[in-house]
Amino acid sequence: MAKKQLFNQRTALILAGLIFGVGASLLQKWGNPPNMGVCVACFIRDIAGALGLHRAEVVQYIRPEIIGFVLGAFISAYGFGEFRGRGGSAPLVRFFLGVFAMVGFLVFLGCPVRALVRLGGGDLNGLVGLLGLIFGAFLGIQFLKQGFNLGRATKLPTITGWIMPVGMIVLLLFCIFKPTFIFASAKGPGALHAAIGISLVVGLIVGFLAQRTRMCFVGGWRDLILIKDTHLFGAIAAFFIGVFLCNLFLGQVNWGFVGQPVAHTNHLWNFLGMTLGGLAATLLGGCPLRQLILTGEGDADAGVTVLGLFAGAALAHNFLLASSKEGPSVFGPWAVIIGLIFILLVGFFMREKI
């Protein structure tokens, strides 16, 4: 029975990965930026811009996919009796891990999901980013093996778990009714988007499936290295196959390093940016997508992490840390180095004897 259950879980995970991959490819066809059908980091950054937390005019839009991820997970968690208010596991540390993860992702220009989307569109810089991500996960695993953890969470009143999902509903209202205080890009990636309804439905479906299957785009790599387990990796592989095959079918594959959309070719900082993101996400226990899903399940620690991602996005554009298609900015590499030092210190000093 256990084996059958495992088989079912694995089949569900692979199917969910495929559906998500195809969705990420189709969203480009339907209007999202090229090689950015879904990017959790970029989309949170766009929402931060729409709220005026940064003023980079080309990346301001309330992305309904992000709202859908949280609300899809919320619906699923409630439906399957897994919604639980919880929190209190080193929230401040999680916030800053979120901040620096976002800085790393925006130096590379993509989260662990978009690295696959980029590679699936032929952008070979995505491969460099993936190698950096895997190296970051490898570093994080060394701390995990030595007893690193962020401490225990405790049960919290259910209402704490509702805060972030309700916040997402407010964002959805802003997205639909466009009050004057919300910014919206007139050009650039922020101006490229699928219809609100399409983005929201894809987000809801993926959020629901990701909650059921525990899909994680850092956890898959981590488990491969840490416990030689391919379960979660199945979703990563299936996602890549889905996005790549659908891109091929739609004629969206263009192999090469140079001239790729919303990307640069600096291998060192593509690698190290994702090393920072991968390391932070490994210590956090999951990629940005997984943090959104946990937020929908009532996890206040994941909620704080998501707020850290928003703050990191605002900092990355206000302090000119984010890269552009010309390459890394002047300050971006310094921020990556500071982030790596911060996380190495956290990793070293938050170990307990096991």
Binding site: A2, L6, L144, L150, R214, D299
Partner: protein, 76 residues
């Protein structure tokens, strides 16, 4: 019997703690306490991959997983 209390820890800490528990107590049964479905699934998967059988008892707040090496007990 060795008992590991992994309640309150989020992924992947329960798995790491279980891994250490199994490595440090070869051939012995190990009990793991977890408080989420995700931890229950992850710890069960790890134990099965290491050749342990898993017996799951539901508690008021979470689950007790009894991991037995090469046992013929039925799995949950």
């Amino acid at each position: 019997m060795v008992e590991i209390d992994a309640c309150g820890f989020s992924c992947p800490i329960p798995v790491v703690k279980t891994m250490h528990g199994l490595e440090n107590n070869p051939g012995e049964p190990v009990t793991v306490l977890v408080d989420s479905e995700v931890s229950r699934e992850n710890v069960s998967r790890l134990a099965q991959s290491k050749g342990y059988t898993v017996k799951i008892e539901a508690l008021a707040e979470g689950y007790k997983l009894i991991l037995n090496p090469q046992s013929s007990e039925s799995t949950g």
